[in-house]
Symmetry: D2
Subunit: 145 residues, 4 copies
């Protein structure tokens, strides 16, 4: 996308990998990988009534899933199609009630080590203000290669 | 259940409140409130293929949802049917891959303040070893009464 | 510093407030408030052998303290000299071993509510690479006004 | 005190290891290892005016340090004197303002993997009520052996 370090996978390669290996996640249906870049990614959670919670806002588990998938995709884009990367810790702060519309998550990767990767996700309501609705940090275990 | 401080709601009252006010959560279908007590609760997530992730283990968002609903129910049992308690922070550590079976969560409430309540959830595979598959702590904002 | 929303306190006012009300913190000695802005702040932890841990890197408690004081100062700059703002949650990821030199923390405030404020701190070794050594998010309880 | 799995180090061995390898921590002066057991430990932070924060309560960084050292000691007791175990994540909830007196921390280890260990610390004011003043969970990276 930019920068001098080549990405291990672009958006098309990530989509193909996820649809083939992880069909349960709903890439291309629930989640859209919009962009990947050096230590970054942007994903969209497509609005659906299944994602609503009481009061008509997007639910906590849906926001958790977007942040978790988002940071994981940002890591995959850097390291390539490793099948066994797993979340070991996720901390999420819910900041505002999100509108009943798509959610967009912008990810940064803080650390890409041999054994652990750490990143963050900032979640916004699509088309809304730039005030984030949630912030998450996640740690992922990378298998020996 | 025991102890000298009376609970604000027992299991039957919590189930009736949640089914009436929060039908989206799936209490009685996805989640079973098994027990509530002084500063404690136990919930079960009923196994369903919808809760699986790649590899056949229970998914991260399902474990997150169980911990989040579980701590919230433990707080409700103490304070009564307040409709506007919301999660402000949830931190979850994934410890082991859970079996493809029911998950049981045991909650404790550490603090029950006027404005904030804090609790934890320890998650186990039902019928399995006593080694926890995940641990979460959550903070909940309690509305002015 | 910029933007259309006036700050409640500038760097000089924050320094005066902290030195008068919280002399134990060591503002002006251990911690330097370098800049405050709209929903942001930058602080420095001055190197001292007291902040070292085994191996000669800056210690975890010192990094925790810098992140905690840093987010708190960023909030104070927005809301003014309220004496009773307290930390309710702090989550910190240690990313790399910091050099035995000053640490710089850059803070952003994600939410500034009536009862809770949430922000983040990214910590770097002064004069080093732009790779962060730690990232923290913190929640602060704001007293009724 | 112990079950069927032998501990790798008892209290005397841990104290000797920490005093020799990590004199900066202040084991035996600031921190007392009171007990270690299977997947557990109990430590004490000795009251000192250096640990106070404004208002006369024990400071956040001191509580962070007690939780961090406490979980680390609980892991050391299980795995033996490995020098390179480092904290990768620590999440702490501050629940009540602690009294200006010793703090006691009770630790449990949730997971003891080849690469990562995860545990919790519950902190109390010594001699006070059994209401915890803080709760922390921590993740530690274990070096290859």
């Amino acid at each position: 996308m930019s920068g001098s370090v080549p990405l291990a996978m672009d958006v098309a390669q990530i989509n193909a990998f996820l649809e083939r290996e992880f069909p349960q996640i709903g890439i291309g249906r629930d989640f859209i990988v919009e962009e990947v870049g050096p230590l970054s990614a942007r994903l969209r959670l497509v609005y659906d009534v299944r994602h609503l919670r009481p009061g008509g806002t997007m639910s906590g588990p849906s926001m958790f899933a977007l942040a978790d998938v988002g940071i994981w995709v940002a890591i995959l884009a850097q390291v390539g199609p490793l099948p066994l990367i797993v979340t070991t810790n996720l901390n999420i702060n819910f900041l505002r009630l999100p509108e009943p519309t798509d959610l967009v998550a912008e990810m940064k990767v803080f650390k890409l080590g041999k054994r652990l990767a750490v990143g963050e996700a900032l979640l916004y309501s699509a088309g809304g203000s730039r005030e984030p609705v949630a912030h998450a940090t996640g740690t992922y275990s990378i298998p020996p290669r």
